[in-house]
Symmetry: C2
Subunit: 168 residues, 2 copies
């Protein structure tokens, strides 16, 4: 299974392609942070991000798009752009036949570090460890996108096992 | 000039096509409210709205998309969906080569009724009067979408005049 993890944002949008490997291992295929200039018109910024999402989905053909759930309580100033970026990730996933999942920051942190209260540095270190990198993907949005994809693979795997056990 | 007015929302999205006519007159070509079921997954609802936007832009080929500006202060519960719906309207407009504008509710109300504090009923009545309808388009989201398009035509016209005067 291949997952596109998206840490949504207009100024910086983290995008990571992660493949499942046997034994809770993962293979990081690609990670990037897509940026749009704050000086551009909002519609143009959204279009640039939409193009980037279309491109990465076309190139890597993920099975799943895992997007961080945006809360209106957080960071009121940038929440609209973040919500719109998340919306574009979801639409592009759905249009390409991917399954689309959202995860809360707490779910992502808990999956990757074992603690829902982990800080950015902790997440970065764990991502580096899990993916066999010498240092965490930078900036934090890149690590967060990888964490989202891993969160889906690990939680999704667990859910799947529970379902199978319940059925058999 | 042809304007697509969008009163963004996931549960109800007002969409109106309005043409400019001489003498501050307008011709209402089409108005609808597009709905998505609250029981559907968010990604599916966004995709349904995205499809509806693509369809109306393809059919009516507007020159401008005028979208209500979403504020994070208002209606915290539904603001994320509203912001995402607005984002889709902007992206589809930009992708089709339309000019994209946003207007605040106060600007829209002031343009159409002369008062930035007008209520829904007042807006509906003015829309009916301006468009020569026997009754306001229902529900209020439909009237609001028409009001957005008219706001652009009337404000845009004024801005244009000011620019021309300044240049000449």
């Amino acid at each position: 299974m291949r997952v596109l993890g998206v840490d949504p944002g207009l100024t910086r949008c983290g995008l990571a392609i992660v493949d499942e490997a046997p034994g809770r291992k993962v293979i990081l295929k690609s990670v990037m942070v897509f940026r749009t200039p704050a000086t551009d018109a909002l519609a143009d910024r959204l279009l640039q991000l939409d193009n980037a999402l279309k491109e990465i989905i076309k190139e890597y053909k993920p099975d799943v798009v895992a997007v961080e759930q945006v809360f209106s309580q957080h960071n009121l100033k940038s929440v609209m752009g973040t919500a719109q970026a998340a919306g574009l990730a979801m639409v592009n996933g759905a249009r390409s036949g991917c399954q689309v999942f959202t995860y809360t920051p707490t779910q992502v942190k808990a999956s990757v570090t074992g603690s829902g209260k982990a800080d950015k540095r902790q997440i970065g270190r764990m991502i580096a460890k899990i993916c066999g990198l010498s240092s965490p993907p930078e900036p934090a949005d890149a690590s967060d996108a990888v964490a989202l994809a891993i969160c889906h693979l690990w939680r999704g795997g667990a859910d799947e096992k529970i379902r199978k056990r319940a059925v058999s």
